[in-house]
Each structure stands twice: as C-alpha cells, then as structure tokens.
Symmetry: C2
Amino acid sequence: MNDDTVVGRPTIEFWYEFASSYSYLAVMRIEALAAAADVRVEWRPFLLGPVFMSLGWNDSPFNIYPPKGRYMWRDLERLCARYRLRLTRPSVFPRNALLAARVACHGQREPWIGAFSRMVMEANFADDRDIGSEQLITELLSSLSLPAAALIAAARQPAGKEALRRQTERACELGLFGAPSFVVGEELFWGNDRLEEALDWARGRSTLPPLG
Amino acid sequence: MNDDTVVGRPTIEFWYEFASSYSYLAVMRIEALAAAADVRVEWRPFLLGPVFMSLGWNDSPFNIYPPKGRYMWRDLERLCARYRLRLTRPSVFPRNALLAARVACHGQREPWIGAFSRMVMEANFADDRDIGSEQLITELLSSLSLPAAALIAAARQPAGKEALRRQTERACELGLFGAPSFVVGEELFWGNDRLEEALDWARGRSTLPPLG
C-alpha cells in the first residue's frame, strides 16, 4: 500500500512483456509521462506466448512474417533515436522472459516495479544480455538493494507461478492480442503509439460512448 | 504534369487501399498535412489482397484474428472522433475495391486523385456504400465533373489492369505488408500513426543512418 491507492485517482493498467520490442519503449516512457499527467500506473507484466498461441502463432509475428520483422527493427531504431533510448538489436529474439515476468508479477505493487522493469528492458534491448538468466535477474535486483534470492524464490513458488498464469489469462480475457497494451476502464489501447492517448483517456480528456 | 514536379521538392509515396480502415484516416488527412509541410504526395493506390496472400492470409487480419478486429473498430471510432471524421462501420468488410483502385491508379498523377480518393473512402467508411459498384464510381467521378465512362473504360483496358497489378507487385518489393504505408527515399513507415513522422522525414527534419 502506498499513496497511489488514493480513491478516484485516474488509473491506467499497463500490460507489457519483457521480450516485446515495443514494450521496451513503453516501459521506459510510462512512469515519467504518467507522473506528469497525475495518472496512477498499475503494472501488469504478462507472457505474450500463450496469447500468441491462442491466435495460432507459435512464435513472434515479427519472426513469422519477415517483412513485418524487418520493418519493426528499423521502426524501433527510429523511435529509439527520437526518444533518446539506447538500442542494440538482441542476438536472441524473443528472449525467454519467464523468470523476469514472475519476479515482476510478484512485485507489481511494490515501489521498485518501475525501476526493475526498466533495468530488465535495458538489459535485453540496449545491452543484449540474457534476461532469462537467474544470474542477471539477481544482479539487477541486488543493484536496487533488494533481497534478490528471497524475491526469486517467492516468484518461483507455486503461488508465484500461478499469479503470472492467471494474469496472462486475464490478458486474453481483456481482448489483448499484443504488447504493450493499456487498459483504462473499458477501453483498450494497443501499442506504444497509444500511450499518450491512453493517459488522456484516463484523465477524462477524451470520452466517447461505447461502440454500439 | 503540374507544378508538383519541381525537382528537389520533398516527396512522399503514399500507399493506400480503399478497403483498408486505417487507410481511410490517412487518405482524409494527407493532402492538408502534406501541403502544410510543403511535401509533394505521390498517390499509390494498390491492392492489399495479393500482399496478404503472400503473407499467408486469405482475408483481412482483422477478420482472421477476432481480437484484432474488435480492437480495430473501436480504435477507428476513437480516432475518427479525434480527427472529426464521420464513421459508419461498413456492412461488408473488406469491400471489393478493384474498380476504384484501377480508376485511381489510372489517375494517380491527375489533380483530382486526392478528391476522388476521399470520396471513395467516405462512401465506404462514412456512408456504408458499395465502392465495388460501377454505378457508384460513375456517380463520384461525375460529381467531380470528370468523364466517368471514359475513365472507367480506360482503367479497364489491359494497360489499366496491368498498371495496378505492377503497382501492387511493387508494394511487395518495397516490403509493404499493410496499408496505409509511406515511403520516403529508402524509409518505410507503416500506419496512419506514422503519417506525421513520414512527413518530417521527407522534410529532412529526421535523419538516421541506415540500419547496419
């Protein structure tokens, strides 16, 4: 519990996956933009794999459809230049993000969730490091002065595994089909491009009747 | 030939398909934005069907993947509200745009291409009319005081059919995988969201070395 739980403060659910390239952009940007807009962020790490499987894809669509993949990497490069984010194309894509996602899910209401998420993303997309390795996750948590071994152990308990599995199921139920996605009330926004619009919606600066 | 052919004026290739929902937004917006940026637009109508077939899709991905489709219609509604564009969800999607695309391809260097393209798009996405019908295309061309019968006949000549076929092949060669897309020199931009960025690129306000 912290002061973010003030009743009535505009809130955005932020759905992201550590292996997702466009999630990298949103993870790096959301905390500062949401703070400026006075919108509370509910961090919702999940796994895209099961979501993609439900759509019939057994790999990232950026790998299944080469023209989409070629475009994405160039688009990401342009966007990173615009946002002044570092980028090194990961030597493995998509990377196994299971452990990172379990730890993030376990800590998604903790004050360190933003900093931890950014560190994982930078390890993957700026430093080309293996975010699937326990050693790396330990290093990142420790650098935040967190009890790495205890957090990793908790995230790997049956309850920790189950929490991430349920959260991923919830993503499917919400109609998510990619990441990053933002949920504001009944409204779904997909893609890093929609972050500003989703924050506007949370602030009540944009409204529209539900689709009939 | 018109004054747009001045050598050295920044140019953007605008690739669009009359059945494509996000192309509707870009067709309605591009002429005013490009004029304000002093960028010349080369209109490139093409058919998404063969492009999608080359990716293994025999229908719009918005139909193949229901969560993507549900999201797209709501997103389109929000964007139309923001851009102050009318929207009526077409009772048939995607509509057969072959005749409209042939006529547009035949006239893509003519001064009426922008006005004609906007009228076809509004017929499809604002008025739910069948843009595949020769009667409708005749009506739209006539309302622009153009010789409808002659233009339709020319677009249906073997040379007219071949021009659209070659243009669609060119789209695949350029790495296009959806519409709208924008090409500025060697740079590809995909989606209505990227229109402003593509115009910036054409103006030389954004540059970045090619992806290594």
